[in-house]
Structure formats: structure tokens, C-alpha cells
Subunit: 199 residues, 2 copies
DNA sequence: CACTTGACATACGCTGCGTATGTCAATACA
DNA sequence: TGTATTGACATACGCAGCGTATGTCAAGTG
């Protein structure tokens, strides 16, 4: 069967995003050549500028894809941990673990802010936050946490988790450092609990 | 009196760093032209590449200057708050307040990581952390905090504080959001206390 | 007072982005 | 079904900006 035009266009978008994701991860945004990148996908810069406007546009699409994946994954982990406090802790650990991937570090944590600006304004980041905010909301209804601004707590927790991943990844013994980071995360998070942490 | 060569060179370094700081803050690293920048300082790119090696080298010098200033300032605030727990809280609020300056946001929080890599590896950031670690160390000696890894806590607190500044700055009502951020910061920080937070 | 060093300027090449223009296949329409 | 039209993508061009190779002249040296 002949492919429709819309289908083919969707294919090229997918190919370009995949190529961009690879190039940005391996060389960083600044050093990734659009000529090389598109050629690798069997296309030219023409396709890129037609579909995404400019280099930044492709970056935005790539970032959106990556941290949509992260949000989905972390949310899933949180829910299968049973939601509530356990879910929140599992989500935090999941974020740190996901952010250990070099691809995430380079694209989302290092280059993303420089290219796209403040991460708290990204649509995808708001999707990530939503999971945390929802979980915190449940806890608030159960009167389990202090009466503080939930959004603020969620943002600080997310920021702390993502940042600590860079530290973990750069450490000599990532495994041991990961454990320290998760423990510290849980320790800080316990500050919002009304009852002392169950350690 | 005639100026010695070393003195003149020091002057050009200072001029270039000042010009870089201004240009990077106003246009961002990528869009800052080294030709313009150096011309504004009454010099040429020759001086720049002689003194700093490349564009990144100047960026490193600028970042180092800025967050050395931040470390000094925050430490001062923490000490005049009397050290200990009050000092730690004051330090945190000070970091958030310092990071509200557009110059800091653009250079240190957005472009810095992309250009220089993981902030936790910057020499200057380690200076910033040192203050927090010292304060936490005092508290540990007084047996006031839980037996967790101090470095990990310090890194998470610093990361949370700096990140929240971006959120505050981008909000509709920065003043109100600042209060929320500081309250949330103190709430999370209280998680390391053995005795429940004095709220 | 010749000589050397080195701080900085000048000149060049190359890479790479964005855009203007061209082309050809897929749809619309008669 | 043949013609017109759109639009997805390729090709070609101009320009900015980085890094480097080379030049110059004043400050230090013996």
C-alpha cells in the first residue's frame, strides 16, 4: 500500500528526533552538526527546518520526548510502590536513577536549560511535577503532612533529585553515592511529614 | 610611575572578565560575540585567547568570580545569623535571594552547566558547599541532626535552593513565591533535625 | 645599548547556521 | 483521468563567529 503524505511526514519527524537525540547526547547541543545529524537520518537540513523551525526546535522536541518518558516511568514506579509516602519515596529514587543515564544528563540537565531556558517552564517538566503534586495531595488529604505549599515542596524535591544525579554520576563510586543520595533525599523529604519519619 | 607588565596584564584580565560577565549575562554564552565583547573593553580577541585560551576559559573565570562572591556573601549571612540551625536557614534563604539576580540565573544556572559541565565539579561550587558542610558539621557535633551523610544533605539543599530561584524569578508574583520557596526549604531542611522543627 | 621575551593585534580559513529558491510527488478538482 | 496546486523536502548561498598562525612593538635583561 502507498503511504500517505502525513504518514511519511510523521516518519521523518520520528527519524529526526531520534537522530537529534543521539547526536545531542553524544556531542552536546553546541557541537552537534545539523548537516551530519540529518545526513545520518538520510535527510538534509531542509527537512529539519521545515519540521522544527530551527536547531532549538529540534532540541525542544527531543527534550520533550525524553522527560515525558521519565515522567511516565517515575509515575509508574510510584504507583506500583502503592502511592502515598512509599510512592513518593519510590518516585524520588526513580528520578535519580533515570537521571543517571548519560543521555539524560547531557541533554536534559546540562544543555536543556541553556538552550530552552528555565526547566520549570517546560511543558514536559510540568508533567513530571504533576505526579509528585498528586501524591503530595493525597498525603495532604490524609492530613499526613505539614500545611505547606505543595507545589513549592514538589519543585524543591524534583530539583534536588535531578541535581543529585549529576553528583552521583560523577562520583568515584556511583553505587555507594547513589545510596547516600537516596537516603539524604528521604531524610529531607521526611521534613514535610507531621509524624517523625518511620526510621 | 610606569606600570609594570604584570600589573597591566592583571588589568586586562580584570577588564575582560568584567566585559565577559556583562555580555554573558545580557546575551547568553552562545550569542555573546567575542569580537564585540573585547572591543567593548578596548581590546581584541588576541588578548582574550592569550589570557584565557578560549571562550570557555573566559566563561570559567566569570563563573568562578560570581559564585565565589555568592559563597562569601552567603557564608557571611549565615554567620551573622549566629551559625547553627538559624545560620543554615539564613544561608539557604541567602542563596535563593542571590540566585534571583538575572546575571546569576543566566550565567551560573542556565549556561554554566552546558559550557563547563556538572556544577558539582566546579572548584567554586565546592567553596559554596563548604560553608553548608561546616554548618552541618557543627550541628552534627551537637548531636542535633540525624546520622546521615553530611555532604549528600549539603548538595541536595544547595541544589534545591538554587533551582527554586529559577522558579521564583519566573513566577508572576516573585515576592510571594520567594516566601513559599523559603518556607518549603526550611520545611525540607527540618527533615534532618532529630527533634521536630520548631514551628 | 643590543637582544630577547611576551602581551597583544592583525589576518586568514573553516565550520555551521539560517534562509531563499528550486523540484517533484502527493492530493484536489474537473 | 488528466491537469492544477499544494507542500515536503533538497539545493545553493550569504554571513557570522571561532580558533589559529603570524606580525609588531614595548617592557625586561645582561
Amino acid at each position: 500500500m502507498a503511504k500517505t503524505r502525513a504518514e511519511k511526514m510523521e516518519e521523518t519527524r520520528i527519524k529526526l528526533i531520534a537522530a537529534g537525540r543521539k547526536a545531542f547526547a553524544e556531542k552536546g547541543f553546541a557541537s552537534a552538526s545539523m548537516d551530519e545529524l540529518t545526513a545520518g537520518a538520510g535527510l538534509t537540513r531542509g527537512a529539519l527546518y521545515h519540521n522544527f523551525g530551527d536547531k532549538r526546535g529540534l532540541m525542544a522536541a527531543v527534550v520533550d520526548q525524553i522527560d515525558t518518558e521519565m515522567a511516565t516511568e517515575a509515575q509508574k514506579v510510584g504507583q506500583s510502590a502503592g502511592g502515598g509516602w512509599q510512592g513518593l519515596m519510590a518516585e524520588g529514587a526513580a528520578y535519580i536513577k533515570l537521571a543517571l543515564r548519560p543521555e539524560v544528563q547531557r541533554i536534559v540537565l546540562l544543555d536543556g536549560p541553556a538552550v530552552l531556558g528555565d526547566p520549570s517552564q517546560w511543558p514536559s517538566q510540568n508533567r513530571c511535577l504533576q505526579a509528585t503534586i498528586t501524591t503530595l495531595g493525597e498525603l495532604a488529604e490524609q492530613d499526613a503532612i505539614k500545611p505547606v505549599d505543595i507545589e513549592a515542596i514538589a519543585r524543591l524535591l524534583n530539583g534536588a533529585a535531578l541535581n543529585s544525579a549529576l553528583w552521583v554520576a560523577a562520583s568515584d563510586d556511583p553505587h555507594a553515592t547513589f545510596d547516600k543520595a537516596v537516603t539524604a533525599f528521604e531524610c529531607l523529604a521526611s521534613g514535610v511529614l507531621k509524624t517523625p519519619a518511620p526510621n
